[in-house]
Each structure stands twice: as structure tokens, then as C-alpha cells.
């Protein structure tokens, strides 16, 4: 078992790290304070090809593998969670969902411009009244001739006001015996008539990002915009989450690393009781826990990425990686502030932003509570993965890099 990153993976990691550290790190605090997304972030990530990193070249992507996606997310979130949120919704939830479920024609129309970064995409699952309880969603899509008419409101949608496309989930069959089977997925272009959207401010964290709501009032889309079959919506959403939560796991790993690095730096400089606090045992204990969290989180997400490369179903491993890393990053950020003392409580240092950002990740893409139920379900045999009509394509260096 070779646990080393290939030379190519290291180059990808280095490139994304350099971009994030050189171009974003110096300005992020300013935008976090303003609660605004820096306007150059999306165009620059698009320009560099980061927004299509793990999609085949023939679909407009960069032909890297799923591990490269994870590595990129780790580097992005080590600077700020908002950068990784972009990857989570644009690649993890939307683009990889299309990659797995869309027809060739739909891939040409929607996936290619997304992979190139010409179109930004989001994920419309959550509603004001439905978070963990996905099946309780109220948005409807009524068949009318060759079209569907969509009504409903989605909330807590990252990039709501910045995206061009959204993967929208709605009820097509209110009569279905099991409400999970009544849902369908649609790729909706956000410049259609009947769509309104807005930003949500006042969030605890990910303030340098863009989170908002989208409302559809009698929005017409062609049936050719429906992704997958009617009634497959829930299964599609869950497989999208397998990829979204993978990016969250990798990102949270980067957040733990940032907490660790800053804590080490501060502890070595700050004296108390006659020596640097890095020599004091209770500080060392906190550092040790961060190391443990980082190493474990990293191995969990890399394993999930490896499984995706092989074409292996990885729902359980990805859920585990996300749950572990996000809980651990919340704790790491809290301890990082503690190590910094009163200075950690001020935004002069980065650690308070890490804590505020980390709390979001234990809520979205499956709350920690949901993941615990998932893991127990697998262990107790109450939950099993049935094969899907479409699986996430495994990585193939040769075919993914052909034009």
C-alpha cells in the first residue's frame, strides 16, 4: 500500500497552495469583515482551471483525479472555508452530480461550461422548512406538456446570487407512497423568468462567501433539463452529497492544519511563567490532539478519494471522513483560540475566523447527528448501499486526458 502522494499530486497541491496563500490570504480578513465575497475569487479559480480540476478534459475539465480534488480543498480551506465552499457546491454537489447522472447531451450543455468555469453552479436541496429531513421538501415540479413548472424556495444556498446554474430538487409525484420516491432533479438556468434570489447576511461564519436563497415562481424548464428519471431525485441528491461531503472532509482537514500551524507559531513566541508556552504541558496536549486529528482526518479523506478513483462505492467512508474532520476542526479551532488567549478572541489573529467557519461544516452536508445515524445504520445492518443505476465514473488517466 503506497501512502505517498505522487509527484503529480504534489505539484497540484503546491499550485493550489501557492494560489490561496499568495492571492487570497492577504485580503481574506477584509472581506470576512465586510461579509462579502471578493469579486476576483470565482473568475480567478475559473481561470486557473481549479473549478474543473477532476473532470475529464473532453468535458472541459483538467483531467486530474478525485484525490487531487481533495488535496485542492485541503489547501483552499487552510486559507479560508469560503474557497472550499465554492468547490463543494460547484464541483462536489453539482458538476460531479451531472458527471454521474446526466445524459451526454446534458453534459455538453451544462457540465462543459461549468468545468471550464464559464458558468458557476450551485445545489438547491435545502428549504426553509427542510434540512436534514430532505423528504419533507415542499418545492414542486409539475409536468406540463414538454416542460415542468417549478415552484418553491430554497435556502442556505451557497453562491445563490453568483451562480448561473442550480441543481434543483422538487417533488414531481406528490402521490408517491414513499415521499423519497416522489422527488426529481432539474438543472435550472438562473436567468429564467420567475426566479428571484438574494443574499443572506449575518451568518456566524463563512462571511467572505456568498450564501443566499432562491425562489421559483412558475418557472418553466424543458423536460430535457431533468437530470435522471422522475422519482430518482432523492438517490441523485444522496450521491451528490457523497461528493460534496468529500470536499468538506478534505477542507476541514485543511482547517485543522491551519489551526495547528498557527497554534505552534504562537506558542513558540509567547512567554508565560518564565518560558515559551510551547513548553507548558497543557498547551502541548492541545497541540498533540490537533496533530492526531489532522493525521486521522487526512487519511480518512484520502482513502475516500482513492475509493472514488477505483469506482468503489464510498458513501460510508465519505460520511465518516466528513463527520470526523468537521467535528475535529471545530474542536481544533476552539483550542487554537485557547492557546492564543485573549489575542485569539480578536480578529487580529485568524483563529477566531477558523472557529466561526468550522461551525458551519458540522451543520451542512449532513449534520454530525445525521452522520452518526448513518454510521450506526451501516454497522447494525439497518443500512445498506444498493447499486445505483449510474455510479460515479472511476478515474482513468488516459481517457480523462484525451480531447
Amino acid at each position: 500500500m503506497d501512502f505517498n502522494l505522487t509527484n503529480e499530486h504534489q505539484m497540484v497541491q503546491g499550485m493550489v497552495r501557492d494560489f490561496a496563500q499568495k492571492e487570497i490570504a492577504p485580503i481574506i480578513k477584509e472581506f470576512d469583515r465586510k461579509q462579502e465575497m471578493a469579486p476576483f475569487v470565482l473568475p480567478r479559480m475559473a481561470e486557473l482551471g481549479i473549478l474543473g480540476i477532476c473532470l475529464p478534459v473532453r468535458y472541459g475539465g483538467q483531467g486530474m483525479d478525485y484525490i487531487a480534488l481533495g488535496l485542492a480543498c485541503e489547501e483552499l480551506e487552510a486559507v479560508d472555508s469560503t474557497l472550499r465552499v465554492v468547490m463543494s457546491v460547484h464541483i462536489g454537489l453539482n458538476s460531479l452530480g451531472l458527471f454521474q447522472w446526466a445524459t451526454e447531451d446534458q453534459k455538453e450543455r451544462f457540465l462543459v461550461p461549468q468545468a471550464k468555469g464559464d458558468k458557476i453552479s450551485g445545489f438547491g436541496l435545502t428549504e426553509p422548512g427542510a434540512g436534514s429531513d430532505v423528504a419533507a421538501m415542499r418545492s414542486t415540479a409539475q409536468r406540463d406538456g414538454d416542460d415542468y413548472v417549478i415552484n418553491g424556495e430554497k435556502m442556505w444556498i451557497s453562491l445563490a446570487t453568483k451562480a448561473h446554474h442550480v441543481l434543483w430538487f422538487a417533488r414531481t409525484n406528490p402521490e408517491a407512497k414513499d415521499p423519497h420516491d416522489g422527488l426529481s432533479a432539474f438543472l435550472v438556468e438562473l436567468d429564467r423568468a420567475g426566479i428571484t434570489r438574494g443574499d443572506i447576511h449575518g451568518k456566524l461564519g463563512v462571511r467572505a462567501g456568498s450564501t443566499g436563497w432562491i425562489s421559483c415562481q412558475d418557472v418553466r424548464v424543458s423536460h430535457l433539463n431533468r437530470i435522471g428519471e422522475e422519482g430518482e431525485g432523492f438517490k441523485i441528491a444522496m450521491s451528490c452529497l457523497d461528493n460534496g461531503r468529500y470536499t468538506v472532509a478534505a477542507g476541514a482537514t485543511g482547517l485543522i492544519r491551519a489551526c495547528l500551524d498557527e497554534s505552534i507559531k504562537y506558542a513558540k513566541e509567547r512567554p508565560a511563567f518564565g518560558r515559551q508556552i510551547s513548553k507548558l504541558q497543557l498547551i502541548q496536549q492541545k497541540i498533540a490532539h490537533m496533530v492526531q486529528s489532522y493525521d486521522a482526518a487526512r487519511l480518512l479523506y484520502l482513502q475516500a478519494g482513492w475509493m472514488k478513483n477505483q469506482g468503489m462505492r464510498n458513501s460510508r467512508q465519505t460520511s465518516l471522513a466528513k463527520w470526523f474532520a468537521t467535528d475535529a476542526s471545530f474542536e481544533a479551532a476552539s483550542q487554537a483560540i485557547q492557546i492564543h488567549g485573549a489575542y485569539g478572541y480578536s480578529d487580529e489573529y485568524n483563529v477566531e475566523r477558523y472557529l466561526r467557519n468550522s461551525k458551519g461544516a458540522v451543520i451542512y452536508e449532513g449534520t454530525s447527528e445525521i452522520h452518526q445515524l448513518v454510521q450506526a445504520g451501516y454497522a447494525l445492518g439497518y443500512r445498506q448501499d444498493a447499486p445505483l443505476r449510474n455510479e460515479l465514473p472511476p478515474y482513468n488517466e488516459q481517457t480523462w486526458r484525451e480531447n
Binding site: N7, E8, M11, V12, D18, K22
Partner: protein
Amino acid sequence: MNIVVCIKQVPDSAAKVAVQDGQVTWGEAPLVMNPWDEYAVETALTVQEDHGGDVTVVSIGKEGVEEALKIGLAMGSNNAILISDPALEAADSQAVARVLAAVIQKIGDVDIVFFGKQAIDGDMGVTAAQTARVLGWPILSLASSVETSSDGIRVERTVEEGRQVVEGKLPAVVSVVKDIGEPRYPSFMGIRKANRATIPVWTLGDLGIEEPISKVHWPELQNPPVQEIANEIIPGDSPEEIANTLADKILGEKVL
């Protein structure tokens, strides 16, 4: 426009280097392309964008140096060559210069050779000038901006006293400093290409030159002495007296 960039692989600048059993160690720190050389590659690629042609990165070392050459390819260079020969392991700067000159002559038809200002391990800062001297080409060093035409080159350089603009004919050797502009990241396309590339390895035999004799030897490496600060409060009856004493003491430390 045929351009060669000479690069070196060195330990990362953040590495904690120390001497152990007479050898330099850098722990787990990675080996990277010498940071100054990234600027040299960037300059070469910019000149190529303006004038077309080929950019070749070359380096001397063992197999692992290929990783640094691959970064050069991933940034956009067209070719890479590794010069590897056990006889070159302890080569001093003038031996390296002679080898690089032979490489440049073997590549043939080269218009410009770029170097970074210095390598951050040896901090010699003379290899560019020495290579130029072996080739008989002019050296335009410490360039902060470069302009080329079909047969000439014009650089802005900073010396102790100010900034100069120097012109010369091609072929020429140029060493660059950081003001020349931030090096581009390797692109993903570049990374894919670099991954596929097979880098030719040349030995001294391939170059057709005799083993160059090194004249400089490094018998000893030391960790620098740990300094205790001697705190001294300057006494005096008047501010003028204190000021004069302080100025003398500061000048005595030779930091001005």
C-alpha cells in the same frame, strides 16, 4: 528565440538546516526548485510569449532533480534536460559553469541563457557570470526587467548606487532578481504534460568534455554559534553625551 534556463534543486527555504556528522540535514523539508530560478523560468516564458521559440530547462544532479525540472515543464517550458554524472557530485561553481557551457553548446543555437541570482544553498551567486565567461558571451546580471529584439537585449538592473539600463547583443547570459515579476503557477495542463514527459539524461560522456576539476573544497560545516546578547545601558550626564556614546557604540558594531 532559443532560450535555456539553468535551474538548481535545493532544500525548501523554510527548512531547518543543521550540520550532523559533518553533513547538512534538512529533516523532512521538501526539495524544491531554487526560488530565484522560478523567476528565471518566468522571465524565459515571458520572452517566449513575446518572440516565440523554445524554452529548455536544464539542471545538474541526481535522478530526484527531475522533480524540479518537471516544475519547469509544468510552468510551460518545452523541454528539460538532466545532466547527471557521479563525477559532478562535489563540483564547485567553475566546474558547474564549464559543464553548463558545454550543455548550452550541445543544445546549439541558443540565444539567451537565464539564471536566478543565486542558489539558496551555496549562496555563491557567481555561476551565471562564470558560465557566460566560459561561453565568451556577455553577462547581464541582476536584471529586474528584460526586453529583447531579434538580435539584442536590454535589461534594467539595480546596483548599489541606483538603476542602470544595459544593452547587449545576443547571445547573452542573464541573471534575474525578484523584481522581474511573480513566477506563474504550473498550470494543470502543464502538470499533465510534465507527468507524461521523459527527461533525457546526459552524462559528461554525452557532452564530450573532460571531467572538470574542482578547485574549491568544503572540509567543514558548522552550525553558527549561539549568541548571548550583552545588554548595555548607555550612561551619560546629558542627552548629547549619551547620544554621542550610543552613536559610537552602534558604529562599532559595524551595522552601518
